[in-house]
Point group: C2
Chain length 660, copies 2
C-alpha cells in the first residue's frame, strides 16, 4: 500500500527513530481516529421482535406476499399450503411420461422393500405395502420436493421395532404391538407437524452430520445382523438388537442353520449386490438395481413354489390378506401403561425419519437448484404420518435409495409418487396371493443390500482427517447404537455434540496479534511470520463470545498473557509494556458476567499501571457496554475502531506527554 | 489517512470514473495482496496436548517450577500444597495483632450464626459450633485466601436441610438424619476436592452470576419464611420449604402465635437491622454489626433467664453438651436406600458452597490484589469438608458476611481463622451452659438479618437494564427455587443459561458491511452512517462459529441476503451484484458440517453466476478448510486477508477483463 499508511505505521513504532517530523502535534495532523458507533436505537420490543423473527422466521416466509393484490395473496397462500398448485397448472403429457416411468421403477423397489422393512419393524408384511400406498398420495399434494420417493425406511423401521419390542412381544401380543406401532406413528406425525407449525425446524439441526454418519452405520450393522435370522434360516432368534446378544444367539442356534436357505440366500445376495455395484458405477444403468429386487422376489418365489414338496427348510411369507388399507383410527391408544413408550418411540422415530426425509429432499433439490422449505416439509411429512396412522400405516418418510432411483429414472414432479401408489394399489387388490411362496431369505437379502450402502466409512475417514472431535462424536453414536441401545446411542451422540459447543465457549482461543510491516493489518504472530510486535503494546484477539461460562477463564488467561509478555520483554530488554489492546471483533456477544470480567480486568491491569483498550466491539456488545456504563469509565480513549488507530493514537499521546 | 490507501480505495469503487490511470496492469503496480497463511503445522498429538492444557491447565501451574533448582522446586511444591509455608516464615507480631483482633471479631459473629445455621439445616445447634472449629483450622493450613472466614453458611445449610428432610424426618429419625448430614458433607467434600484435583473447576462457572443472584434471593426468601416459626413462636410448623405451604402453615396456626415472642423478636430484629445499616453506611464501624449478634444473644438470654418463672411462651435452646467435636467417621453411611439422596445432597450443597467460597475468596483477593487459585481453593474446601464429616461437622465454606467483617477488622492472614477456632474451642469447652436460656427467637432474628442482605434487587435491576435474557435466567432461578424446589430451581436456571449459549450458536448474527469512505475500514452499514456499499459486492460478516447447529441456517440466511441485495439493486438500478465477500474474522471455529455448508453455498451462488470469496479465516478454520480441500477448489483468488484487499483485487481483475 502507499506511504499514507506507512506514516501512521511509523508512528506506531515510536522507537525506530525515523519519525522526527511527527512531533507533539502529530495527533491532529496525521492520525484520523474514527469513533466507535452504537447501533441504531431500538426498543426492547423491537429487539425481541427481530430476535424472534431470526429464530422462527429466518426464511421470511411472508416476503412473497408483500406488494401483492389480495387475489394473488390467496393464490400464493394456496400454493404455499399445497405445492401441487404451483406445478399442477403447468403439468403436461411430457412430464407425465417421465413420471410414469420413474413411478413404476420405484414401485418395483417399493413393493419388496415395503414387505421387508415391515418385518424389520416386527410388523405384518402387509403393513409395509399399506404404508407405501396412502402416505405417498398425501405427500404428492403437500410436499415441496419433486424427487422424494415416500414410504417405509430401514432406520425408522428398525428403531420402532427395537423400541417397541423391548416392552411388548410382537408375536405373543401382536394386537397390542400393532396398536402401539400405529400410536407411535401418530405421535411421530404430530411431533413432526408441530415442529413445522411452530417453526422449530432447527431442532433437527442438532443431529449433526457426524452423529448421523455414526448412527446410520451403527443402525445398518444392527439391521444386517438381524438379517442373519432370515439368511441362516434360524427359527428361535433373540428379540434383542445389540451386537453381543445377537451374535451369541446366532452361534448358540447353530443346529437350526439350514444349508438350503444359506445357499439360496447367498446366491440372491450376490446377485443383488452385483446389480447394485453396476448401477453405482454407471448411474445410467440405474434400472438394473431398481428391477433386481422385484425380479429376485419373482424368481425365488417360483423356485420355492417348485420345490415346495421336496423340502420344508426354506420358510416363506405365507398368506397375505387382499384389499386396501383398513382404517386403524380405532386402534390408536391414548391412555394406559404403554402410552409413554408410544410417545417416546414416536418422537425418536419422528425425528429420525424427519432428518432423513429433509436431508434427502435437500440433496436432490440442490442438484436441480430448487428450494425445499424445511418447515413446510416437516408439516407435509407430519400430516402424512398422522393420516397414515389412521389407515394402517407405520412411520414413513423419503427414502434415500428409492429417491435416488426416482431421480435417475427422470422423475419430474410428485406425480411419480402417485404412479407408485397406484402400482401398490394394484398389487394390494390383485397380486397378494402371488407372494404366498416368497421366501423370507429374499427379504433379508433385499434389506442387507439396501442398508449396506448406509455404512459410509469414507465419510467417517474424512471426519477423522478434518475434525478429530467430529470423528469422536461419530464413533460415540456408532458404538452407542451398536452396543448400548438405539435411543441411548443417539442421546449420547447429541450430548457429545452439544458438549463440544459448550467446551468451545468455555475455553475460547486468544491470539496475540502483531502488525504486518507496511500495512494497517494486524494478524496472529504465530501464523504470520511477517507480523511483528509493537513495542509497548500487547495486542490480543478474543475468539469467542464472552459469557458466564468463560469470563473467569478469559480474565485469568489475559492476565497470564500479560505476565508472559512482561517476562519476554525483561529477557529481551525491550521497552516496557504500557497498553493491552483487546480486539473484540470476534466477540459476537457478551453477557453481564462478561462485562464485569472486562471491568475487573481493566481494574487489575490499572493496578499494574497498564492501560486496557477495546477495539471494534460488534453492535450488540457495544450496546451492552454502553448500558452498563463501562464505556464512560473507559473514556473515549479506551475504545477504538481498529487496532491500527488505537496504536497510532496511543503512541502519539505518549509522545506528546514526553514518554519514550 | 494518507493518499496511499485512497488509491486503493479508488479502485474499490470502479464506477466513480476517477481511476483512469489505473488500467489493466493496475494489479501489479498498486494493490499489494497478502496471502492467507496456514497456522504452523502441528501433529494431532500436539494439538490435543495444547487443547488439553487449555482446558485443564489454563493457569499453567508448572510455570513457576521451570528453571529452578531441585531444592527450590521442593520448597515451591510444599508452598503450593500448603500456602501456610508461603506466608508462615514472614509472620510477625504485628500481623498477629491484626489477626487476633479480626479473629475475635468474627468469632463473636460465628458463634451465634453457627448455632442458628445448624438449626436451619435441622441439625442440633451444637453441630454448628463444631463446624466452626475444625474446618477453619484445616483451611488456615491449606487455603490460599487471606480473608476467607470459614464456617457454616445460610444457603448450604438451607439446601441440606430442605433436601434431606424431604425423605427423613429430623425429629422422628434424628440419628439417621445426622448420619445423612455427615455423609452428604463427606460427598460434598469429595466432590469439591475431585473438581480441584481433576482441574474441572470450570464446572462452577456454569452457575452464571445471573443464576446466582436469583437463586440466592430465592433461597434468602425461603430462609426468611422459615424464621417465622421462631419469630412468631409457632410450635407445629410445616416441614416444607416452598412459599405456599409455609405461608398457609403460618396462618393456619394463628392460635400458636405468642405475643411475648413476637414482641421480643421484633425488638431484637430492629436492633440487629439498625446496627447492620450503620455498619453498611460506615464500613469503619463494622464492629457494631459484628458485636451486635453476640450482644443480643447475651441480653436476650439474660432476659429469658429473668422471666423464666413468669412465662413459658418463649422457647429456648435448652441443654447443650460441653466438649470438643466427637468423631463421626463411624456415622458415615456408604450403603443403603438413602445413599443416593446423600450423594445428591452432597453434590448440590458442595457445588453451591464451593461457588460461594470461591466467589468470596476472589472478591477480597481482588481488593488486595493477590491471586486465589480456583483449583487449589477447591481442594482446600473439599479436604476441609471431608475432614469435617469425620469430626461431627456439616458443610462449611467461606461466608460472605463474616469474611467482610474479617476484612474490615484488618485480618492479614489465615491466622484469624485459627484465632476464631480457638474462641469457639473455649466456648465449646466452658461456655455451653450459658446458652441454656438463649431464646430461639434471637436465632431467627440473627438469620433474618444475615440473609436479608442476600436479596440483591439492585443487581437484578441492573441485569434487566443491561441484558434481558440474563434477567430472565435470574427470574427463572428465583421463582424456581421459591415455588418448585431448591435443586430443581437451580437445574432450570442452569438449563436456561446453557440454552442461551446454544440459541446464540443456532441463530448467529450476520451483518452487512460497507466501506468507510477514505479508509480501508469495513464496518456494519447499519451502525456506521459513513459506511457505504461498494457496487458489485455484498460484504457479509458472520458473527459466530459455523457448526452443525447453524450451518443450514447460515447457508439459507446468506442466500436470503443475496436475494434481498439483488432486489435492492434492481430497485435502484445499481450495478449488478458479482461477488459475495464473507468476512470470517469472527468465525472462531468450524466443523465438518460448516465446511460443507460453505462449499454448498459456493456451489449455489456459482449457479447464479456469483463469486464467493472468504476473508481472514482464523487459524483453526483455515486449517480445516485446507484439510477438506475446499481451499483448492476456491483457488487462490477466493481467499483474502482483508476485505479491502479482496475488493481491490477483484475490481482490478474485473477491470482487466473489461467488465464494468
Amino acid at each position: 500500500m502507499g506511504h499514507g499508511t506507512n506514516r501512521v505505521e511509523d508512528m506506531a513504532s515510536p522507537n525506530n527513530g525515523t519519525t522526527a517530523p511527527a512531533t507533539a502535534n502529530a495527533r491532529e495532523t496525521i492520525v484520523e481516529i474514527h469513533s466507535v458507533c452504537l447501533p441504531p436505537k431500538k426498543t426492547a420490543f423491537q429487539k425481541l421482535k427481530k430476535r424472534f423473527g431470526d429464530v422462527f422466521f429466518p426464511d421470511d416466509p411472508l416476503e412473497r406476499f408483500r406488494n401483492q393484490t389480495w387475489r394473488n395473496r390467496v393464490i400464493l397462500g394456496l400454493q404455499s399450503l399445497f405445492p401441487i398448485f404451483t406445478w399442477g397448472s403447468q403439468y403436461d403429457l411430457k412430464l407425465l411420461r417421465s413420471d410414469v416411468v420413474s413411478g413404476l421403477t420405484i414401485a418395483s423397489l417399493a413393493i419388496p422393500q415395503g414387505i421387508s422393512y415391515a418385518k424389520l419393524a416386527n410388523l405384518p408384511p402387509i403393513v409395509g405395502l399399506y404404508s407405501s400406498f396412502v402416505p405417498p398420495l398425501i405427500y404428492s399434494v403437500l410436499g415441496s420436493s419433486k424427487h422424494l420417493a415416500v414410504g417405509p425406511v430401514s432406520i425408522a423401521s428398525l428403531v420402532m421395532g427395537s423400541m417397541l419390542s423391548e416392552s411388548v412381544s410382537p408375536t405373543q401380543d401382536s394386537i397390542l404391538y400393532l396398536k402401539l406401532a400405529f400410536t407411535s406413528t401418530f405421535f411421530a406425525g404430530l411431533f413432526q407437524a408441530s415442529l413445522g407449525l411452530l417453526r422449530l425446524g432447527f431442532v433437527i439441526d442438532f443431529l449433526s452430520k457426524a452423529t448421523l454418519i455414526g448412527f446410520t452405520a451403527g443402525a445398518a450393522v444392527i439391521v444386517s445382523l438381524q438379517q442373519l435370522k432370515g439368511l441362516l434360516g434360524i427359527v428361535h432368534f433373540t428379540g434383542k438388537m445389540q451386537f453381543i446378544p445377537v451374535m451369541s444367539s446366532v452361534f448358540s442356534h447353530r443346529s437350526e442353520w439350514s444349508w438350503e436357505t444359506i445357499l439360496m440366500g447367498l446366491g440372491f445376495l450376490a446377485i443383488l449386490l452385483t446389480t447394485r455395484h453396476i448401477s453405482m458405477r454407471k448411474p445410467k444403468l440405474f434400472w438394473i438395481s431398481a428391477a433386481s429386487p422385484l425380479a429376485s422376489v419373482a424368481i425365488s418365489t417360483l423356485l420355492v413354489f417348485l420345490i415346495r414338496n421336496k423340502t420344508h427348510a426354506i420358510s416363506f411369507i405365507g398368506h397375505l390378506p387382499k384389499g386396501l388399507n383398513p382404517p386403524s383410527s380405532n386402534m390408536l391408544y391414548f391412555s394406559g401403561t404403554h402410552l409413554a413408550l408410544a410417545i417416546k418411540t414416536g418422537i425418536i422415530t419422528g425425528i429420525l425419519s424427519l432428518t432423513e426425509g429433509i436431508a434427502v429432499g435437500r440433496t436432490f433439490a440442490s442438484l436441480k437448484n430448487y428450494q425445499v422449505n424445511g418447515n413446510k416439509e416437516m408439516m407435509a411429512i407430519g400430516f402424512m404420518n398422522m393420516a397414515g396412522s389412521c389407515t394402517s400405516c407405520y412411520v414413513t418418510t423419503g427414502s434415500f435409495s428409492r429417491s435416488a432411483v426416482n431421480y435417475n429414472a427422470g422423475a419430474k414432479t410428485a406425480v411419480s409418487n402417485i404412479v407408485m401408489a397406484s402400482a401398490v394399489l394394484v398389487t394390494l387388490l390383485f397380486l397378494m396371493p402371488l407372494f404366498y411362496y416368497t421366501p423370507n431369505l429374499i427379504l433379508a437379502a433385499i434389506i442387507l443390500t439396501a442398508v449396506i450402502g448406509l455404512i459410509d466409512y469414507q465419510a467417517a475417514y474424512k471426519l477423522w482427517k478434518v475434525d478429530k472431535f467430529d470423528f469422536f462424536t461419530c464413533m460415540c453414536s456408532f458404538f452407542g447404537v451398536l452396543l448400548v441401545s438405539v435411543p441411548l446411542g443417539l442421546a449420547i451422540a447429541v450430548g457429545v455434540s452439544v458438549l463440544k459447543v459448550l467446551l468451545h465457549v468455555t475455553r475460547p482461543n486468544t491470539v496475540e496479534f502483531g502488525n504486518i510491516q507496511g500495512t494497517q493489518i494486524y494478524q496472529s504472530l504465530k501464523r504470520y511470520r511477517e507480523a511483528s510486535r509493537i513495542p509497548g503494546f500487547l495486542i490480543l484477539a478474543v475468539e469467542s463470545p464472552i459469557y458466564f461460562a468463560n469470563s473467569t477463564y478469559l480474565q485469568e488467561r489475559i492476565l497470564r498473557w500479560t505476565r508472559e509478555e512482561e517476562a519476554r520483554i525483561k529477557e529481551n530488554n525491550g521497552s516496557t509494556l504500557k497498553c493491552i489492546i483487546l480486539d473484540m471483533t470476534a466477540v459476537s456477544s457478551i453477557d453481564t458476567c462478561g462485562i464485569e470480567a472486562v471491568f475487573e480486568l481493566r481494574r487489575r491491569l490499572e493496578k499494574q499501571s497498564l492501560q486496557l483498550v477495546l477495539v471494534n466491539p460488534v453492535g450488540s456488545v457495544m450496546e451492552k457496554l454502553h448500558k452498563s456504563k463501562i464505556i464512560e469509565s473507559l473514556g473515549l480513549s479506551g475504545l477504538y475502531l481498529t487496532v491500527g488507530e488505537a496504536v497510532a493514537d496511543l503512541s502519539s499521546t505518549w509522545k506528546a506527554h514526553g514518554q519514550p
